[in-house]
């Protein structure tokens, strides 16, 4: 409760939010994941803008509650959450710290830039490139257990929408891969 006595500043709020874990992957914070998009401080009040990872992500309400609870616990009573859709969340926003933490937790972090949606600007023909089978990039996914690149996709979807299932052909361990999005 003592923090509220000092003037609230955005950097402090960001630091607090950096301790709020993602409910599905608790080693990584909602800030590392890129879910928190903006923090605005107006006197004692705070507006936090969050964005969903996937449209149907069932964790969004839990995340919103966790952010509110965290700020309450630091003495910020007036917390407002804004849910923002645009620009759409991308794994490019995941911090390097976040990627390292994922790796340490046994989840291979995203290996490349986002899927190509360049067709959004340049019309249908090139837009179709995003779904051409021949144009699919060959991903090199590194096994988080042994570091081998000798890995294989077992399932395009894993335990959550944001992950795919892989197996390592060297150490034979299955693992989660955090998909580029």
């Amino acid at each position: 409760m003592n923090a509220a006595a000092a003037a609230l500043d955005a950097a402090q709020v960001w630091a607090w939010l950096g301790d709020v874990p993602d409910p599905e992957i608790p080693v990584i914070s909602v800030v590392d994941l890129g879910i928190v998009r903006a923090v605005e401080v107006h006197g004692d009040a705070c507006v936090v803008t969050i964005t969903p990872t996937y449209s149907g992500c069932p964790a969004m309400q839990v995340i919103a509650d966790a952010v509110t609870d965290a700020l309450h616990s630091h003495g910020v009573q007036d917390v407002k959450l804004v849910n923002q859709l645009s620009p759409a969340w991308t794994t490019d926003w995941m911090s390097e710290t976040g990627k390292a933490k994922l790796h340490g937790y046994g989840i291979a972090p995203p290996q490349q830039q986002v899927i190509d949606i360049s067709g959004l600007r340049s019309g249908l023909r090139s837009g179709a490139q995003g779904v051409k089978r021949q144009a699919m990039p060959k991903l090199e996914v590194v096994c988080p257990n042994c570091g081998s690149v000798h890995t294989q996709l077992t399932s395009q979807f894993g335990s959550t929408p944001c992950k795919a299932l892989y197996k390592c052909l060297d150490c034979r361990e299955p693992f989660d891969y955090f998909k580029c999005h």
Partner: protein, 255 residues
């Protein structure tokens, strides 16, 4: 914007949302019943994406309507004739070739439709489309892969996949059959012209079918219609009976 155009936009949003909702509900029925664990997870994850997209369409529709309805009211408190999904989405899950062919036809339309909506003249629709298309790109890659794998698989999987394509083909025409609502949205700078999306759809289906060694039914075949205007097949009532049971039996109950 006058009332008529607002109402037509509301209808258009219902069509987008109802397509996603009904397919999501159909896929959720397969939870725990997929032909393999990986497929089971994929089906339910796709269902979840579509449900999230439904919420975005319906919450905008509800705001536009201005009657205080939220996305749950729109999903759970309408009867079959008020649903605006295309007939394709309410077709039964059938065997896995049927399920994946329905998915592939829908994903292909959905992808090219969203690609256009993502740069249309309504900022809110642009946001929803840009969010959704990232998910739908992944859906289409997956359903295209499976159509190739099943079509170019064994003699049995090939036969079943061809049968699924032949049976479902007549439900694809409705996606491009524009009525007054669609045309009003074209005029308002929101909906793409039907021909643009249809040409992209036919091209992509032809490419995947060629690789899958499947025969593509003729583009000018006779086509079913009616879903967008609320004239549904017998299947929708059963889908809604299950989906809406809780709100019908215990009105107003919440989690």
């Amino acid at each position: 914007m006058d009332d008529k155009v607002t109402h037509q936009k509301f209808e258009y949003l219902l069509r987008m949302g109802d397509n996603a909702l009904i397919l999501s509900q159909q896929l959720s029925k397969l939870c725990g019943k997929g032909p393999a664990l990986e497929e089971d997870m994929a089906l339910t994850n796709v269902a979840l994406d579509l449900l999230g997209q439904t919420r975005m369409w319906f919450s905008y529709a509800g705001e536009l309507e201005g009657q205080g309805r939220d996305e749950d009211d729109i999903a759970f408190l309408r009867d079959a004739h008020d649903f605006r999904n295309c007939l394709l989405l309410e077709q039964p899950n059938g065997n896995y070739a049927d399920t994946m062919m329905r998915q592939f036809f829908f994903d292909t339309w959905h992808y090219f439709q969203l690609l256009e909506l993502a740069k249309c003249g309504d900022a809110r629709i642009v946001e929803v489309a840009q969010k959704s298309i990232k998910e739908v790109t992944y859906h289409l890659r997956r359903s295209g892969d499976l159509v190739v794998r099943l079509g170019d698989g064994t003699a049995v999987s090939h036969a079943k996949t061809q049968a699924a394509a032949d049976a479902l083909w007549s439900y694809t025409g409705e996606l491009f059959k524009y009525d007054a609502v669609d045309q009003a949205m074209v005029d308002a700078g929101i909906a793409p012209p039907a021909d643009v999306v249809r040409a992209a759809f036919l091209e992509h289906v032809a490419e995947i079918f060629a690789e899958a060694t499947l025969v593509m039914p003729p583009a000018d075949a006779w086509m079913q219609k009616g879903g967008k205007q609320g004239a549904h097949s017998e299947h929708l009532g059963y889908i809604l009976a299950e989906m809406q049971f809780l709100q019908r039996a215990y009105p107003g109950s919440e989690w």
